[in-house]
Amino acid sequence: MQKHDAVIIGAGPAGLNAAIALRKHDLNVLVIDEFPHLGGRLLGQLHEEPNGEWWNGIKEAEKLVNEAKALNTEMLTNVSVHHIQRKDGAFVVHTNRKNYEAKNVLIATGAAETANPIPGWTLPGVMTIGAAQVMTNVHRVRVGEKGIVIGVNVLAAAIARELLLAGIRLHSLALPINNAVTDEQSHPKMVMERLSRIAHLAPSPLLRFGGKFAKYKWAQNIAVSFYPKKGINMWDVPIHLRKAVKEINGTEQVESVTMVDITKDGEIIPGTEEEIPVDFVCIAGGLYPLAELAAVVGVPFKYVEPLGGHVPVHNEKMETPVEGVYVAGNITGIESAKVARAQGKVAGLSIAFRMKKDAAIQKEIEKAMDEVKTTRDNATIQFHPEIARGRDDIHAQFNKYLNG
């Protein structure tokens, strides 16, 4: 069996940019992705940046794919990896097509979405906000006539705008009703606190409303207490922090949702039930690193809340404590596609250095690591305000593994 210098799992911004770096050093690379198209979640992205420029993910993906193709990179779509085994200091990557041997593996599998489970959430017509994004921007399929978004967070706001741009009607963005799982997503004060941190994402009036109160907890409390009952309009769609969806109704599929008013602490105000007809529901519960393959190949984990939960231990060079296994992109913590792309380059170069031991590559790695930091500092969308602290935590853990 042919042994690749590197098998890269995931053809998103991280995986593709890593492949480009490796091909530039003339190494033998195979990129595998389970989606029918290359580009990963870049494909769904379309948003306006504060400087007025548009970020078109499909175009960004095209650039990377074209560059990789020009370098004769071998790339496979519709192939799922279900296991990575260690074998004689190298790896066997098990897929639904065949097994591939590799001297190095880069796991760039990105993130998955968490649900906000409320009664009725398993009905046909209920989907994650990310699924609605892919249907709209990638498959160009209309998800429904009129829908509602359950969950108010940065991802929900960004994708809601994309749906509106595609001509899809939304009743509103509202909170999920409180239960053990929806927890902080259902709590007006906690949601306001999180929103206030992304206030710089103008021109959204909601975020500006939150932004005035960004610095002070007492002020956030006031903002929640006096939050308008009608919600605050963003792109003509109300965003509710004092209304929650209690139930999704329908027999064969989604027919309506039941909305209730809630107190500033998230308690239902009795007698406020209102039935709202909708034919689809988007659940926006946030993202977490998709790290199963890192777990099965034996990479240790650390729980780091700012990074989105359990993250495979790694250092700034994208190495894990398992020699030959690398990670890059959202598997290392939830950040923007630009950060993922920059991390991919670091990972690719780190693998190149391991194969060639060339001091010139070491210099390139350092430069690429600086690029990651600069990209992070300039990021317009920050999924968590304490990303930098989270990063320090996970890198410190890597050193502990090396020294312990």
Binding site: V81, A115, W121, A291, A295, V296, G309
Partner: protein, 90 residues
Amino acid sequence: MRDVIICRCEEVTLSQLEEIIKHHDPSARELKLRTRAGMGICGGKTCRPLLDKVLQKLTDKPPTDDIPLKVQPPVRPTSLAQLGGSGDET
């Protein structure tokens, strides 16, 4: 209000999980074994983070660095022929 399904494959509800947690103070693995939540054909693709959250919230234990439920291969639904190696393996 209707109950909330947490594990779709095995149709395990939030109140079933709450009941087990109340009476047994279980580990993540015990909760899975007692209810079958997370043991369905999808291998916990959707409910894993929900189960972690329920347990963490209701037992008030801080999350550990280890992933609560051990991840086992295959991490994608896979045919037995593929696992047995009778496919077009080279």
